[in-house]
């Protein structure tokens, strides 16, 4: 009796826990279809108007009553975000994977130092890193912009990729590579036929997670984006600061969906690579 009661209590708690996590973000999504322009959180009727507005197709209801953010600015921010995330994720995946491979395959002097160097950027509070990068770029005279954002994102994305790929490599049976060499495969063939296929899902998962973390980064971008190059999260922040508007619901919902889809794919790839090891 006692145990069923406490088990039920725990299950109830679990349900509440998930509600706490998902209700708030669910709200944004649901209310992004609410047509009420004055009081956003009072449901009026279902509409796609906010989505239309942000893509520049002005809807009659809202045109007069609301200040419409420049669609060009939004599209520019999305473009910047995608460019930054693609470049930063690719570069950091390359660098992080190479470092993980080096530390896994070879006996390297100062291994502890290298590991610490690869891990600390992730632990560094983002405000500190953002400010350090801002001072750095300004003092050596590099103009803030898309390039500086890419570099800034790479510093901490390397950590994430390094950790994911290292975990993959550590979970790999080292005798697989030895078996390949034993059967006469050259080191390059061993890498291509054995090591790479084994870690590729992990690397791809790392790439996707790096991409999404870069897409979502706010604080570091906030300090080093300069005047012209805004990314989507920074754009949303400045929009919110100017006042909560229904269009933000629509933009946030789309970013939400995008993040969830890419992250799911990344987590799925990682989990699959884990299972097959």
């Amino acid at each position: 009796m006692h145990s069923t009661f406490s088990t039920r209590l725990l299950s109830l708690y679990g349900v509440l826990f998930f509600l706490f996590i998902y209700l708030p973000i669910g709200l944004i999504f649901v209310y992004s279809f609410n047509s009420n322009p004055i009081n956003m959180m009072v449901w009026q009727s279902f509409t796609f108007d906010w989505y239309r507005t942000i893509f520049g197709f002005s809807a009659e209801v809202t045109e007069a009553t609301l200040y419409v953010e420049s669609t060009d600015q939004l599209i520019g921010a999305v473009q910047n975000s995608l460019i930054v995330a693609s470049v930063a994720a690719s570069l950091s995946t390359l660098l992080g994977t190479a470092a993980a491979l080096a530390l896994y395959r070879f006996r390297v002097r100062l291994e502890g130092f290298y590991r610490a160097l690869m891990m600390t950027p992730m632990m560094m509070p983002d405000i500190v890193l953002g400010i350090a990068l801002l001072i750095f770029f300004v003092s050596i005279g590099i103009d803030l912009g898309v390039t500086t954002i890419m570099i800034g994102h790479c510093t901490f994305l390397i950590s994430y990729v390094f950790i994911i790929v290292s975990a993959r490599l550590a979970g790999m049976d080292p005798s697989l590579e030895e078996a390949s060499a034993d059967l006469g495969a050259t080191p390059f063939t061993t890498f291509r036929r054995i090591t790479l296929p084994r870690i590729l899902p992990g690397v791809m998962g790392g790439l996707m997670l790096a991409f999404i973390i870069s897409m979502d980064d706010l604080v570091i971008t906030y300090f080093i984006s300069g005047v012209d190059a805004t990314t989507l999260p920074v754009f949303i922040l400045s929009m919110i600061r100017r006042g909560v508007k229904p269009e933000i619901n629509a933009i946030a919902s789309m970013l939400l969906m995008f993040s969830i889809i890419v992250a799911s794919l990344g987590i799925y790839l990682r989990a699959r690579s884990e299972k097959r090891l």
Partner: protein
């Protein structure tokens, strides 16, 4: 090791040397900053078509030696030659040896047939021949219809066979087996022992088999190399090793034994047991053991016979401390005069035996094997 024994153990393998290891040294740094000498001066010749087992406790260097042969470890000094060619500068993938790994190391992202064909592919064998040979090898290990499966769909025993097929399909000069049977259960292990022996005969390849299981070693090997602390203590046929252990370590490690140490005096051994132990004078002559020489004598429990206490033929007097029933025989643990323990096998299960009973023990002097030199250790091992 006496020259006579070495030639005796070679009689059935008069062919060429396939693997020759000379003065192999290898040490590792421990994480704590110390040094471990995994190999210190190992010499070993292995002949064509021979089944040699490297046997020893864990950490004795046997696996290190295997990894040096396959090329995953290098030697600090010394040389390894296969077919007369030095392997010192050859990386693992260019050596004419193949390994069956302890964990099997089957590539999980390939089918069984792809696994087996991997080595042939690396050697540039065409697709058609590759498949034919892979299937043949699979047939040979009795898994003809499993080619399209993935390793994870196979049982442990089947994976073991695939690993074997993958190694032999390349027709290596030498097949290395790193404790391949340790993950199998007892029945399967015994079955695989027979099958490995059969395969070795069919293929005519030299096998180097690493194990810590003495029973496995005794059943399968043509010769056994007993490792201890990075050295080979004895290299000989199983029979030779059992009957004439070259050192105390070997005597203790293989089978059960009773050890006495003392000085030789007039064809007897003066030890602390109280009674002088008669020795075989032929053995003394053969090995040039003079009076006053420090030796250790080994006698197997089954070579001791019960008699009445204080009987004229009794060479030792003892009291029974424990009686263990083993099914077809008894094992007795007896206490000698100097309080040391001695093991005795009694095959006649009808003998009345009870704890505390005083008994006499006799043996044929030729069964008492002598080992030169001595350490303070003695008593039952």
């Amino acid at each position: 090791m006496p020259a006579a024994q070495q030639t005796a153990s070679r009689t059935n393998t008069t062919n060429d040397v396939v693997l020759s290891i000379q003065c192999a040294h290898r040490s590792f740094k421990t994480p704590e900053g110390g040094q471990v000498h995994a190999l210190r001066g190992v010499d070993l010749d292995i002949f064509e078509n021979e089944f040699v087992t490297l046997l020893g406790p864990s950490g004795c260097g046997k696996t290190t030696l295997l990894r040096c042969i396959s090329g995953f470890e290098r030697l600090d000094s010394g040389d390894i030659a296969i077919g007369g060619e030095s392997m010192a500068r050859r990386p693992a993938h260019k050596r004419p040896v193949n390994t069956v790994f302890q964990s099997y190391a089957l590539f999980p992202h390939m089918t069984v047939l792809q696994n087996i064909g991997y080595g042939l592919e690396a050697a540039g064998v065409g697709r058609r021949e590759r498949i034919a040979r892979s299937e043949e090898a699979l047939e040979m290990v009795g898994l003809g219809d499993m080619g399209q499966r993935r390793p994870e769909q196979l049982s442990g025993g089947q994976q073991q066979r695939v690993a074997l097929a993958r190694a032999i399909v390349n027709r290596p000069r030498l097949l290395l087996l790193d404790e391949p049977l340790s993950a199998l259960d007892r029945n399967l292990r015994q079955q695989m022992q027979i099958e490995l022996k059969r395969l070795q005969h069919e293929l005519g390849i030299a096998f180097v088999f690493v194990t810590h299981d003495q029973e496995e070693a005794l059943t399968m090997s043509d010769r056994i190399a007993i490792f201890n602390g990075g050295r080979i203590e004895q290299l000989a046929s199983p029979r030779e090793i059992y009957d004439h252990p070259a050192s105390e370590f070997v005597a203790r490690f293989i089978g059960e034994s009773n050890l006495f140490s003392g000085k030789i005096a007039d064809a007897t051994l003066i030890s602390s047991t109280g009674n002088p132990l008669p020795l075989c004078s032929k053995q003394l002559d053969l090995r040039n053991f003079d009076n006053g020489r420090q030796v250790t004598a080994v006698i197997r429990p089954e070579h001791l016979h019960l008699c009445a206490p204080e009987a004229p033929q009794a060479q030792l007097n003892a009291r029974i401390t424990e009686v263990i029933f083993l099914g077809t025989e008894y094992q007795l643990i007896c206490t000698l005069n100097d309080q040391s323990l001695i093991k005795v096998r009694v095959t006649d299960v009808n003998t009345p035996l009870s704890v505390g009973q005083n008994i006499g023990l006799s043996y044929a002097p030729e069964q008492l094997h002598l080992i030169a030199g001595s350490t303070p250790l003695r008593g039952a091992a």
